[in-house]
């Protein structure tokens, strides 16, 4: 309250109403007026007094003036004052420009949308053909893998067949026929033995052994001076992976035999499980 009263008494409010203050001082008065209602009231009282004072010193203008002012502010009569106010001419021109700009922008927008729709369609169709192509590529590569493995199998098989043919006609290779024993009279097997090179090869094409199960394997033995020597294990399958199976090497043997042993083979042959046996005839 005290601050407001002291502020009123400085006379700054009168100068404010008379338009005598600079922008900064005006702002200060306006802040004070917003803060203290009595300052705001004081300003209004000063304003009203000055209004009365101005009204009491009024000079009536000549009667035509009112009409001139209305002509200048009424939009309908803009044309009559166009010469006086060049900006009145400029305004519609500016509006026209913006209108045409808007129109061309609208065309551009429509064109953009059309282009977007077409692009989306093209993208979608490209995407679906790409998916199709990808699927084809996947199935083709699967086919190719199958063919490649078949080809490699056939190649191996062919190589083995050639080898078998070569072994048959080569006198340095000795074919040893192993015949079935009492427990499996139908079984038989052919082993090729290269005595000088110590090579022993099983011929799967000339093998007739019952298929072994997962727990057991056939084991080939060489009988050297009455003692069995391990030449390795093999499986009897209806569809063998290889035609020729290379076994361990031996340089001297009087007979070959095959027993059924546990998987991985045994140190000594289980004689009662001997399926085939054949002596070497040179």
């Amino acid at each position: 309250m005290e601050e407001a009263k002291a502020y009123i008494e400085t006379g700054i409010l009168e100068l404010y109403v008379l338009g005598q203050l600079n922008a900064l001082e005006q702002l200060e008065v306006e802040e004070m007026a917003a803060k203290y209602p009595e300052i705001k009231e004081e300003i209004t009282a000063i304003e009203i007094a000055m209004e009365h004072y101005a009204l009491s010193h009024a000079i009536q203008p000549t009667s035509g003036l009112e009409k001139q002012i209305f002509e200048r502010i009424t939009p309908a009569t803009t044309n009559t004052t166009a010469k006086e106010k060049p900006e009145a001419k400029i305004v519609p021109l500016y509006n026209d420009n913006s209108a045409s700009t808007i129109r061309s922008l609208r065309f551009a927008l429509v064109a953009c949308i059309a282009l977007l729709v077409i692009s989306t369609g093209a993208l979608y169709s490209a995407h679906s053909s790409l998916t199709l192509a990808n699927q084809q590529i996947a199935s083709l590569s699967l086919d190719k893998q199958k063919f490649a493995s078949t080809v490699s199998y056939i190649t191996d098989e062919n190589k083995d067949l050639q080898k078998i043919a070569a072994i048959s006609s080569d006198p340095t290779w000795t074919p040893v026929k192993l015949s079935g024993t009492k427990i499996s009279p139908k079984a038989n097997l052919v082993v090729y033995w290269h005595k000088a090179g110590h090579h022993v090869v099983l011929d799967n094409t000339k093998m007739a052994l019952p298929e072994n199960d997962a727990d057991h394997q056939y084991q080939l033995w060489a009988m050297v001076n009455g003692k069995p020597v391990d030449l390795g294990v093999f499986d009897a399958q209806s569809q063998p992976k290889k035609l020729l199976v290379t076994m361990k090497e031996i340089g001297n043997a009087q007979a070959f035999a095959v027993t059924l042993e546990k998987r991985g083979g045994s140190v000594n042959p289980t004689m009662e499980k001997m399926v085939v046996l054949g002596g070497v005839t040179i």
């Binding site: 400085t10 006379g11 700054i12 009168e14 100068l15 404010y16 109403v17 008379l18 338009g19 005598q20 005006q26 306006e30 917003a34 300003i43 209004t44 009282a45 000063i46 304003e47 009203i48 007094a49 000055m50 209004e51 009365h52 004072y53 101005a54 009204l55 009491s56 010193h57 009024a58 000079i59 009536q60 203008p61 000549t62 009667s63 003036l65 009112e66 001139q68 002012i69 209305f70 200048r72 502010i73 009424t74």
Partner: protein, 183 residues
């Protein structure tokens, strides 16, 4: 124009209409305040034709810059009279105006206008002469220099060779007297 056709609106309605660019606002403002505005303009520029041109410019400016008026900062008339006074002061300080009115004595504006135009006071401003005599002349002179002659209060202080504080006090005293008289 007959007195019965004059339009008068409340301050709020006036401001709303003016900001809404309704021509009735200018009509009402003209009917209510053109005389008061011309009274101030005429005393600053002296020349009645120039004064009426300036009055016209004042109304155009009020119309065109209505959005700049902020009712929280003061009454509409205070803003209008400041627009009018600033236009008038700009005019008398412009080169072409000074050249054309060199022969007139700027010191005697109020007396000059009053004698030339034979001021027509409104009938309802009774007792103005009493007021003028009731105000101490030294107080009233300072207020009139600022309100009617286009002086700034600093210029008035220099002109009267008074301290700025005294000028402020005298303006305040003069307005206090006016308030007593009008309320």
């Amino acid at each position: 124009m007959a007195a019965t056709k004059k339009i008068s609106l409340s301050e709020e309605d006036l401001v709303r209409a003016l900001k809404g660019q309704e021509t009735i606002a200018i009509q009402a403002l003209y009917d209510m305040y053109s005389g008061a505005l011309l009274g101030v303009i005429s005393r600053i520029v002296q020349h009645s034709e120039v004064a009426e041109d300036l009055l016209q410019e004042t109304f155009i400016k009020i119309w065109n810059s209505a959005e700049n008026y902020d009712s929280s900062k003061g009454r509409l008339f205070t803003w209008m009279i400041n627009v009018a006074r600033n236009l008038a002061i700009d005019k008398i300080r412009s080169k072409d105006f000074r050249n054309s009115s060199k022969n007139q004595d700027i010191e005697n504006n109020v007396d000059f206008i009053d004698s030339q135009k034979r001021l027509t006071f409104n009938a309802d401003t009774l007792g103005l002469r009493d007021l003028v005599t009731a105000l101490k002349p030294e107080f009233n002179d300072v207020l009139n220099m600022v309100y009617f002659k286009g002086y700034t209060h600093v210029e008035a202080a220099e002109e009267l060779n008074l301290p700025l504080g005294t000028v402020k006090t005298r303006i305040r005293m003069a307005i206090m007297e006016l308030r007593k008289h009008f309320n």
